[in-house]
Symmetry: C2
Subunit: 454 residues, 2 copies
């Protein structure tokens, strides 16, 4: 089921990057849009209408779309009661609670070490520097869909807490609860308990059961009950991504997420079963996920191919695996490890795993990747949950210019300019000269005042 | 000409933030679009068509729009010959060359002090950390229009050089040169010499006379002769800003720039003539620029008002000043300095100038601003040219979540995960537990392999 490619063939297929706006809109999606809007419009236009409705009608618009698109009952508050967040902890197995707690601790410990302090210098006359200030209020989108993702709560919200963000809001699409289930649930029944538990573990108290473009509109522009945020984080489906692009600039946006992807570079000594297991972990995310192995060893390639077949047969998400492995995944035979690294640097994957004898020397040559996993003990799945660094990493080749979620994403810099009088006297005439070369006389005169009256 | 407002009135007028996408499209702009496209389409659609043309037709599309919109002659290369960049230095006054050199040195010295190093920790079992890598290739847009802005070259390109970016490309809209001027010019006649000189001072060798949405399309997607970049920087007009939003995600985008703005907080001891001069320097940029004074002193307010009138009368860009001062600028009487700071934090201006007795204690309370100018010796115009920190700062209230251009904008983080075996054994069962709670069995099994065979 997983093919073995030459580099040349792979570059025309699984290694080819398609710009996010050239991704084809499926017939199924257009049909769903038509069912909702009564018209066959493009997703971008659908998103525009939803956001406009939230901006114009606030909570009423939000309630409408939350019902229409996600089946959330009208007349029920989409805000999770604070006490239910806390109570969720008692409703999940102790072992899960413990695992989430340790994961949160490790993520916190990691980001507490990231240097993001204010600094000043006195070497340029007076005091110049950068004040670092946390954003005041941020929103984190936690995707719904085929898996409930408590890890997504931890991986974005903990770095925000380390940064000192005062208000952290979680939004996540409501799950459908039948009338009876809802009536019998001891707590808010429209979000998975494990997601609420992740919020409780790190002390998050503001959670809304809203998703899709409507939640992005609400976070960006606010409603009567949800104050707007300064920046929006977290991956989502196509509607969420299009909505984030449309509000970019009005609020901060972490980046636009595409399907998740792993590149593994392995030599002949890697364990085929482990490599295959790591590829399958990647491929099970969704049908668009991609797992690509680069290796100079045809022997390893064949063994991994066999292992993939064998292991996949016993896994529950087989239908997803079949599609993601057949379409965007594969094994590429490279000339040597050097060529594999060059391919990696062009492709700029979200995850890069180095299952080779000397991963450290190879890691020095890596220019683009969201995260590097060194050796087979540091396998990718640990990064998804518990290693420490955020699992929210740049996808789709954006690792060329973007970073994993980190403390810098939650703070802003204020440049500090406090020149002393001597320096002002020295540099003002030079500044005035450039200003006059630019034709900006009022600029020059503001300098003249200091020169003449200083 | 400049009004004095109460806080209440100011919040309804000059302090009111209008979301960038609600800014009205003027009749003049629609008429210009109609003249070019033969149809009355919105600027967003015009930009979409231009970018599509560049993507589909590369250099030919670029040449077409460069001619149509900016009058650049067909059949002439838009790339500035490298030797002409160097020769431009001999064609500007020595004093300007010296000023640009000192400015570049100060900017470089400032950013060389910014901490952006890779780091690792061994406290979490094995080695975790962040590798910092420079982006490979970035584009800087230098606006044209009413002023030639060599300072914009320095303020974006020098931090890029400090970051270690290998390829830095400058684009700037061509100026119209008559046939005779062009023939007689000793060097490339379609860009101001002072802009080329700024490139020469810092060793930039790749410069194109292209502007508008067409230049953003070329940078984002590349043409036969211009390789695509990883990230695009620099402010521009509405077309440039719309183009940047449309390519956001395909490439990195520094942010969306709006009109420039200064907020000055002054007490009764500030010098009225200096405050007025600083406001005029801000207001002369363009008709949409804004200069707002917040002061508890009605006495100062009135003196500044008089000074503004007096000084403006003698300035060359009087028509621009009249509009920017009357429409988006003003003086606001606050209860006290505390209230002024609160207003500042809500408004989140690009520049904040503190012309007060104790600026340092006030600066501690500043949460949002692109840059803080401490005291009347550190006036805003020095920040535009020579103080050190970049003059490219967040506008339109985006200082709530965005930073001035700095070295971090030109590097990306790669998370490093190199756990030791003992730690892997400890945390793998916890990770498997979360994975199973999320319903991701293949994730859990990749951990099982390490637990069982580790």
């Amino acid at each position: 089921m997983v093919k073995i490619y030459s580099v040349e063939d792979a570059k025309k297929t699984i290694l080819k990057r398609i710009p996010p706006d050239e991704v084809k809109v499926t017939e199924g999606m257009l049909a769903r849009i038509e069912a909702t809007f009564g018209e066959r419009i493009m997703p971008e236009e659908a998103v525009r209408r939803i956001i406009r409705d939230i901006r114009e009608n606030g909570d009423a618009g939000l309630a409408l779309w939350n019902q229409k698109l996600d089946g959330f009952p009208r007349g029920v508050s989409n805000k999770v009661p604070v006490e239910d967040i806390q109570r969720s902890l008692e409703l999940i197995p102790h072992a899960e609670r413990e695992a989430l707690t340790v994961a949160a601790q490790r993520i916190r410990s990691f980001y507490q070490k990231q240097p993001t302090h204010s600094w000043v210098t006195n070497d340029l006359g007076g005091t110049l520097g950068q004040f670092i200030r946390p954003h005041h209020r941020v929103g984190v989108y936690v995707p719904g869909g085929t898996a409930a993702l408590p890890s997504s709560v931890l991986m974005s919200a903990v770095p925000a807490q380390v940064a000192g963000v005062k208000e952290i809001v979680i939004v996540s699409p409501p799950v459908r609860a039948s009338g009876q289930d809802a009536a019998e649930s001891p707590i808010f029944p429209y979000l998975p308990k494990i997601i609420l538990a992740a919020c409780a573990v790190i002390g998050i108290t503001e959670v809304y059961a809203i998703g899709g473009a409507q939640s992005i509109g609400a976070l960006a522009f606010g409603t009567e009950t949800i104050p707007p945020v300064d920046k929006i984080f977290g991956p989502g489906n196509l509607f969420v991504t299009l909505a984030k692009r449309q509000v970019f600039g009005m609020v901060g946006i972490d980046g636009l997420a595409g399907p998740t992807e792993t590149m593994i570079i392995a030599d002949g000594n890697a364990k085929p079963a482990w490599v295959a297991a790591d590829m399958l972990a990647q491929a099970e995310h969704d049908v668009l996920a991609s797992a690509i192995l680069l290796t100079p060893s045809l022997d390893l390639a064949k063994q991994v191919q066999t292992e993939l077949e064998k292991q996949a047969a016993t896994l529950p998400r087989k239908e997803i695996l079949d599609q993601s492995l057949a379409n965007q995944s594969g094994i590429v035979i490279t000339e040597n490890l050097e060529e594999a690294i060059n391919i990696n640097n062009q492709y700029a994957p979200e995850h890069l795993c180095l299952a080779v004898d000397d991963p450290w020397s190879l890691s020095d040559k890596v220019k683009n990747a969201g995260g590097i996993f060194i050796g087979e003990q540091s396998f990718e799945m640990l990064g998804d949950y518990i290693a420490g660094p955020s699992h929210v990493m740049p996808t789709g080749g954006s690792a060329r210019f973007a970073s994993p979620v980190n403390v810098w994403d939650f703070v802003h810099i204020i440049s500090l300019i406090a020149l002393d009088k001597k320096t002002t006297q020295e540099i003002s005439p030079l500044a005035a000269r450039i200003a006059r070369a630019e034709g900006l006389e009022a600029h020059a005169r503001s300098a003249d005042f200091r020169i003449n009256e200083g």
